[in-house]
């Protein structure tokens, strides 16, 4: 809402010399946040100049400039004529013009421009003769502002060269822009803002709505409220007031002061009838509509739309109406307007044609207007106000003000009759314990102070059974006040939030972070410690990404939550795996010159199952258990995952030596590091699965077989399709599985301090046998004395049959209670080898 300061000053007494900045600061204290401060941007010296001489000089580029001598009085400090070059020609010697002298500033789209004397066209031009456009007070003129053409003669008569023009031209005017919260419809008016300013500062407030309202004499224009299907039980219109003004000349121009206020408030002057209704709306917050009386054939009937009805609104859109739309109709048939939202072409006033006008001042239901506005994606100044609540008590005053202005500036006469169909329900009251303010806010309010504030904002208080109990009837312009905390808010707000003390509450005492929260932190820290970078990517993907990743048609990862209004039609789905969105981050790093990138992300992914609808019961009531259960179960599963994607060098080359590219072994190792950070044992199973290389992919499971995730090198085709570096490797693990598996207290085993015995074996095995299978056999065969074993070499070549290779294992033996003898070690080793031979045809070399 834009608030021209001088307009505000008409309704509330502003301190002498108050600035827009100070007004904005005062309004913030009562909840109207500053959005901006609008000024002319023109800074003096800007003075009256009389053109003494002008000599046209043709330039080589064909342009003719005027070398002018301008009398600016003593404003230039010398009293000598000021030499100024001017390119315009719409003025002549003797004219009074606006001259900005060096040191003055003009607004430009690029910011303020400070004027200085400069050499141009062979002269030193000491200032500028200004145009309307340069001063920002109009768009229509390209030429120089010749003062008598803009200002009234009596003003011009008082002007002499050198006189300051900033005030005369209104360039010192300021407009404060504030943000109005959606509960404060009444602050979309100068009336509301002025009242709030008065609350903030104590300044004297004059309600612009308290004007003499014609009582009405005789039958007014017929109006019928015929809402047969109220929305949520509330009639669409509970008050409709109509006034008629006849014999107006709508071709007359809007008075300058009104046009200026409208412009400053952000609305374009569009002609007398529209300007008057807009002016009243801005002043009092009541949207009005003016109909051409001559075009109406029957009573005004307010009803809901019928199936199949259409209306072309003033924005030239032909709209199919919905049975829930509330309409203003001519005689119940011809549709004139979407009530409180926008009019149609029929019934519209036309300057030069219309002479008799019917003014509609009505109160429409906020919910009904809001739905119509949203349904038709049609926002208007009127709808914005009705949706947020218009004062149903201001209806008559608003119509009166409009009638008065039309009569004064359009020259008509008002019909004595007034139509006022008033079906407003009784405003409900609120029972309030006055001590609640103190109990709720934590400031020790005197009960008298609480009463005073409530009355200040317009509430009527009726005493209850005790001194602290009252019944409160809120003012008509505050439909948002519906309960006791709302009244407490008013007390706190008007008394000042700055009076609220700071007290740290004593919480009941918590149990710290949950295991899952700590575990996720541990995983992130472990991966960062391994040299990986945490990133947070957007979770939006398109089905094309599933194709790029090579997911087959039946892959459950294709089943994703779809957004109805995605930011991009290319990415309307919620990712079902983190690996779906990591490629962008990897590519961005590579394209910006970081080639060695190992990324990880921890977040939840969305894994919907079937289509379950979540009921949406309304506000203020606890749904029953069954409905709550339905709501909860409709929310798709969103397990926490961790994903890794890496490319480039694991060890970089440099002055310290050679480098080594990152590969699938690194990634599998990092996946293990995740499990290890949580103390969870994972097993590996060779697997083939998109998006991984079919021969370089491992499935990680818990010992009980529960899947943890996958790690591997990305399929070369995937790498190619996604534009990733060659051999990019990746992993994705279900953190929830790991977190659950790790949620136990690990019990320590005692360490043996007896010496370690080591024995190496080389086993020839057929190539198809998995390393892990051989390892398992050795482990099983060696028995309890085996502490650990590792595969330290794999050999294939001349020394081994073509379909076999040789695996070199190092086995470490230790007993808890004694030093092992060579014989014991050899026996255990032989048993291990025997088992491998039996199970896999392994032959010791």
């Amino acid at each position: 809402m834009r608030v021209p300061v001088d307009w505000l000053g008409e309704y509330v007494t502003l301190p002498e010399g108050v600035t827009g900045e100070q007004i904005a600061a005062d309004l913030v204290a009562v909840g109207l946040e500053e959005e901006g401060l609008h000024t002319s941007g023109v800074g003096g010296p800007l003075v009256v100049g009389r053109v003494l001489e002008m000599s046209p000089e043709e330039q080589r580029n064909g342009k003719t400039i005027n070398w002018c001598q301008v009398d600016v009085g003593d404003a230039n400090g010398t009293g000598e004529p000021q030499g100024i070059v001017c390119g315009a020609h719409n003025f002549t010697v003797g004219d009074l013009v606006a001259v900005i002298l060096p040191g003055g500033t003009l607004p430009t789209p690029q910011g303020p421009l400070t004027i200085s004397a400069r050499k141009t066209y062979g002269h030193v031009s000491a200032g500028m003769i200004c145009s309307v456009r340069e001063l920002g007070i109009g768009e229509d003129h390209d030429g120089i502002l010749v003062l008598p053409r803009l200002l009234p003669a009596e003003v011009v008569a008082r002007l002499a060269p050198g006189d300051d023009l900033i005030t005369v031209l209104g360039l010192d005017r300021e407009t404060v822009e504030v943000n109005v919260t959606p509960d404060r419809g009444y602050c979309f008016s100068l009336r509301g803002i002025a009242r709030e300013y008065s609350h903030a500062t104590g300044a004297a407030y004059t309600d612009p709505a308290s004007l003499a309202v014609d009582a009405g004499d005789g039958e007014g224009y017929a109006v019928r409220l015929a809402d047969e299907s109220p929305v949520e039980g509330v009639p669409g219109c509970d008050r409709y007031l109509a006034r008629v003004v006849r014999g107006i000349d709508l071709t007359r121009t809007t008075p300058e002061w009104m046009a200026r206020r409208l412009t400053e408030a952000g609305m374009r002057p569009l002609g007398l009838a529209v300007d008057v209704t807009n002016y009243v709306m801005l002043a009092l917050g009541q949207p009005l509509h003016a109909f051409d009386l001559a075009t109406l054939t029957g009573p005004v009937v307010v009803r809901r739309a019928r199936p199949g009805e259409r209306l072309t609104t003033l924005d030239d859109v032909d709209r199919a109406l919905d049975p829930e739309d509330l309409l203003i109709t001519d005689g119940g048939e011809r549709v004139l307007a979407l009530a409180g939202v926008m009019g149609g072409e029929d019934g519209e006033v036309t300057p030069g044609v219309t002479t008799d006008v019917l003014i509609e001042s009505a109160h429409f239901d906020a919910r009904s207007v809001g739905r119509t506005s949203r349904r038709h994606k049609l926002s208007s100044e009127a709808a914005r106000r009705f949706e947020r609540g218009v004062d149903p008590g201001v209806t008559a005053a608003a119509a009166q003000l409009a009638v008065d202005l039309l009569v004064e500036h359009g020259g008509g006469t008002a019909d004595p009759a007034v139509t006022d169909v008033d079906q407003r329900p009784e405003r409900s009251t609120i029972d309030l314990d006055l001590t609640m303010a103190t109990r709720y806010v934590g400031v020790n309010y005197d009960l008298a102070r609480v009463r005073e504030i409530l009355e200040l904002i317009g509430c009527e208080l009726t005493d209850g059974e005790s001194a602290r109990l009252v019944t409160v009837r809120p003012p008509s312009w505050r439909p948002d006040l519906t309960d006791a905390p709302g009244l407490v808010e008013e007390v706190a707000r008007i008394d000042g939030y700055d009076k609220i003390p700071s007290v740290v509450p004593r919480a009941v005492g918590g149990r710290g972070l949950t295991h899952g929260q700590r575990a996720r932190r541990a995983v992130a820290t472990a991966l960062a410690g391994q040299g990986l970078q945490e990133v947070l990517t957007y979770p939006f993907v398109g089905a094309a990404r599933f194709d790029e990743l090579g997911l087959d048609d039946a892959d459950p990862h294709r089943h994703a939550v779809r957004l109805a209004n995605p930011l991009s039609d290319e990415a309307p789905l919620m990712r079902t795996a983190l690996l779906q969105t990591l490629p962008e981050a990897l590519r961005r790093n590579v394209s910006r010159g970081t080639r060695d990138v190992a990324l990880f992300e921890i977040d939840s992914v969305t894994r919907p199952e079937g289509e379950v609808m979540a009921p949406v019961p309304g506000v203020g009531e606890q749904p029953d258990d069954e409905v709550l259960a339905q709501i909860r179960s409709a929310v798709p599963a969103q397990p926490w995952h961790v994903a890794i994607m890496a490319a480039g060098q694991a060890d970089r080359a440099g002055w310290w030596g050679r480098g080594r590219p990152v590969d699938v072994v690194d990634v599998v190792g990092w996946a293990h590091a995740v499990a290890d950070a949580l103390g969870v044992e994972v097993r590996r199973r060779q697997g083939a699965r998109a998006p991984f290389h079919p021969g370089r992919c491992v499935e990680l499971t818990l010992p009980d077989g529960t899947r943890v995730g996958w790690a591997g090198e990305l399929h070369p085709k995937v790498v190619q399709r996604l534009g990733l570096p060659l051999r990019t490797s990746a992993a994705e693990l279900d953190l929830d599985v790991l977190v659950t598996a790790s949620d136990h207290r690990t019990q320590a085993s005692p360490l043996s301090t007896h010496p370690l015995a080591t024995s190496d074996v080389a086993l020839e095995v057929p190539r198809g046998v998995r390393f892990s299978a051989v390892e398992e056999s050795l482990r099983a065969g060696a028995g309890a004395l085996l502490e650990s074993l590792e595969l330290f070499d794999v050999y294939a070549g001349d020394q081994v049959a073509q379909d076999r290779h040789s695996l070199a294992f190092r086995m470490h033996f230790r007993a808890p209670d004694r030093t092992l003898t060579t014989q014991e070690v050899n026996e255990a080793r032989d048993a291990a080898v025997g088992r491998a031979a039996q199970e896999h045809g392994a032959v010791q070399r």
Partner: protein, 376 residues
């Protein structure tokens, strides 16, 4: 004394071993001569290899003194003792000289190796790329930890959320403009009743329903609005929510909590300020600012760039929890009351670390991460 690894070993090159002298002279002069020769050779040895040769020649099995020693046995009895003493002392002197020289040469060698092995380490190595947490997750953790320190717990909730939890439970009427102003991502089809949560506030309702009262929870998490990405907006962002419901909680407790959190994030002495505002799920409602930690509200010329000269920085919204929220979650508003607040993690991180462009927080450029430590 450390023994040299190459001392006393068997000769590698027998050809170079000097041949034994013809006959041992067990006279004082003769022995002294051998000793002189030995000492000269030992003293002249320039490195451990030369010393090894000298050892072989003058103290080895076939050195003159060894031969002399062996010859003692052939002497007549009375001469044996004197000769034994003479030769023994001579060998003692030689061995002592050998040991001393061995020590000297080893020290020289050790010194030389250290010099030879010297590396210039003044250029930073970069063998392993270093890892980092993301500034947003670490910031959110720091904020949550500050709340845990006050005795609160940390709760979480789903990103794809039921519309009821995101709006209705929080007193956002389906026709209220505030609900439209949330710029919500809706899940298709609309009748699914699901949205991407527009704030972390639905976890208020979930926590009240799941945990009951009294309740003190902080909720960090990812949230969504249909804003296009630019320097100050992102469609995917993070909030930290706080909710306290107990008997007797007031706005003063809200302010006290915010002051503590502001101090934890922006340094000692940082206070908060409340300004009247409107949110459907709180009443009274407030916008909260924190005291600019750069200018501390003192006027400066030119105006402080961090706060734009206002002395305050907007942080988020808060207020006393609306009775309708409590009722929707089965809490008796006549007995329990409390407050809620929420602020942007991005905004907090941007002010803490002087980050000017939101995009740097979301692009995943590892150079951005690299500016920060693991604990920020």
């Amino acid at each position: 004394m450390p023994s040299a690894p190459d001392a006393g070993g068997s000769p590698q090159h027998p050809d170079e071993v000097p041949s034994p002298t013809a006959a041992p002279e067990l006279s004082q002069e003769g022995v002294d001569g051998h000793v002189e020769a030995a000492l000269a050779a030992i003293g002249g040895a320039g490195d451990l290899d030369e010393l090894k040769e000298a050892r072989l020649a003058h103290a080895g099995d076939r050195s003159p003194l060894a031969l002399a020693n062996r010859a003692i046995g052939a002497l007549p009895g009375p001469e044996k003792a004197a000769a034994g003493k003479l030769v023994g002392q001579a060998r003692g002197r030689v061995n002592q000289a050998l040991a001393r020289r061995q020590q000297e040469l080893e020290a020289e060698r050790d010194e030389r190796i250290l010099v030879e092995e010297a590396m210039d380490l003044t250029v930073a190595p970069g063998r392993r790329p270093l890892g980092r947490r993301h500034v947003l997750t670490v910031t959110a953790e720091r904020m949550a930890d500050a709340m845990v320190a006050l005795g609160w717990e940390v709760a979480e909730g789903p990103q794809v959320e039921a519309e009821w939890f995101n709006f209705d439970a929080l007193n956002f009427d389906k026709d209220h403009p505030a609900r439209q102003m949330q710029d919500t991502f809706f899940v298709d089809p609309a009748k699914a009743g699901l949205v991407l949560r527009t704030h972390t506030s639905p976890v208020q309702a979930r926590s009240l329903l799941d945990r009951g009262v009294p309740l003190y929870v902080a909720v960090p998490g990812k949230t969504f609005r249909t804003d296009e990405l630019d320097a100050t907006h992102t469609p995917v962002f993070h909030q930290l929510e706080g909710l306290a419901i107990d008997e007797g909680l007031t706005m003063a407790h809200l302010k006290g909590t915010l002051d503590r959190l502001a101090e934890a994030m922006f340094g000692p002495g940082t206070v908060s300020r409340l300004r009247p505002a409107y949110f459907p799920f709180t009443e009274p409602s407030a916008e909260m600012d924190f005291r600019c930690f750069v200018c501390r509200g003192e006027a400066t010329a030119p105006p402080c760039r961090t706060c734009g000269g206002t002395g305050w920085i907007e942080w988020g919204g808060c207020g006393m929890v609306n009775h309708n929220v409590l009722r929707a979650c089965g809490v008796d508003p006549e007995r329990y009351q409390g407050f809620a607040f929420g602020m942007g993690v991005e905004r907090t991180a941007m002010f803490r670390h002087g980050i000017a462009d939101m995009r740097e927080l979301i692009e995943g450029d590892v150079r951005f991460n690299a500016q920060f430590g693991m604990e920020i």
